[in-house]
């Protein structure tokens, strides 16, 4: 856990909360950075994110060389990666909030508005809810079943069900976590999920995909 972890600083509102939680989970060398060179040297990468999909992707794109460095480090070098909330949604091909925005496209799929199937279903989906393993997923060793804090109006719909690591339920199934190879994305906020969230971060820090 002493290896360098890059926490990507592109103006996301939950940056400091994620930083605090990573430290509490046992990370000793967290570099809060948007510098592509530092990303290239990182052994683990965490991408936070809250707010709108479009604003977050614009924030990432605005930093020259950052997306390229992330792609090289995560997709080619296989460094363990964790995306949180909108940081997870950015893994998708595109989001439809405030017009279509292209995402990173690492896990094919679309980010759509949560449908209110019933007047009692409130959007944003706000509060503690289940994190339940998805069937047929073998990359879910990081995700334990439990309760985590969610806060979102849009949700990730992956093209391929095999990329779904965990589900939750809010007027129908919503994806709680996606995983593929060395990439993990969680819709909920581990940094706000008390013991459950800190334990997940600790497992991520030890993860050897």
């Amino acid at each position: 856990m002493s290896e360098a972890l890059a926490l990507i600083d592109y103006g996301a509102g939950n940056l400091h909360s994620v930083h605090n939680a990573l430290k509490a989970a046992g990370a000793h060398h967290v570099t809060v950075t948007a510098d592509p060179d530092l990303v290239m040297g990182a052994k683990r990468i965490v991408l936070p994110g809250v707010g709108s999909y479009k604003a977050c992707m614009k924030g990432l794109d605005a930093i020259p060389g950052l997306v390229e460095a992330l792609e090289e480090r995560v997709l080619e070098d296989g460094v363990p990666f964790l995306g949180i909330c909108v940081g997870m949604q950015l893994l998708a091909t595109q989001g439809v909030e405030h017009g279509i925005t292209c995402g990173l496209g690492w896990i094919p799929g679309e980010v759509r508005l949560i449908e209110r199937t019933d007047p009692a279903i409130k959007v944003p989906h706000m509060g503690w809810n289940d994190v339940a393993h998805a069937h047929h997923h073998d990359g879910a060793e990081l995700i334990e079943e439990g309760e985590a804090y969610f806060l979102h109006s849009y949700h990730f719909v992956p093209d391929n069900g095999r990329d779904i690591a965990a589900m939750t339920d809010h007027g129908g199934g919503l994806v709680a976590a996606v995983a593929r190879d060395n990439i993990l994305g969680v819709q909920f906020h581990p940094e706000k999920s008390q013991r459950y969230g800190l334990d997940l971060l600790t497992r991520f820090l030890d993860w050897k995909p």
Binding site: A55, D169, K192
Partner: protein
Amino acid sequence: MTVRIRVIPCLDVADGRVVKGVNFVDLKDAGDPVEQAQAYDAAGADELCFLDISASHEGRGTLLDIVRRTAEVCFMPVTVGGGVRTVDDARALLLAGADKVAVNSAAVSRPEVVNEIAEKMGSQCCVASIDARRVAEGKWEIFTHGGRKPTGIDALEHAVKLAELGAGELLVTSMDGDGTKAGYDLALTRTIADAVSVPVVASGGVGTLDHLVEGVTQGHASAVLAASIFHFGTYTIAEAHAALRNAGLPARA
């Protein structure tokens, strides 16, 4: 299951100190908001609410420091309200570690501020506070200045408007009920909750665990806020969760 009903203790803070008396047994400094927050975090509160009632400008800087120190040691969602007037006020609190900011009187004089915060920071972090008093059967009016000053604004219309402007949550406080321990104004809570698509937090008047349950079953709230019943140790967060579960509602174990 589905999303859990949230139990939210609310701490009133002025000039960096918790205002209402608090009664946790093992606190070194019962007036320290950060220690209080940690105690509620450990007790399994679903969220925490800080309400800043500082009269002075100096108190604001202290509030940011409290939020920052709380975010270093508490890993639960924190809403901060009181004195949020502009996008910059909201941004400063969010960067300090708040997850949501509650806008109150600023949204009465200038509702667009809700839209500005939602556009810049996202609806998920923008809570609109609705402080209302009943003025006739089935009719409520927005009051400011701690419930003393009428505005002539219809509470339901105001609530619907702020939700349309992008508030991601409404904190509905009955100024008639506040401090009475007689229970929430259930008709007020329900009337607003049924009219909007965003979650509503019931607030003002809790004296018993049954009041929390009624806030959901009859008030149709998604979350229940209370202050003194938790601060004075009358009930624990765990007892509140158990009461909700015993009523057949989803709550954390």
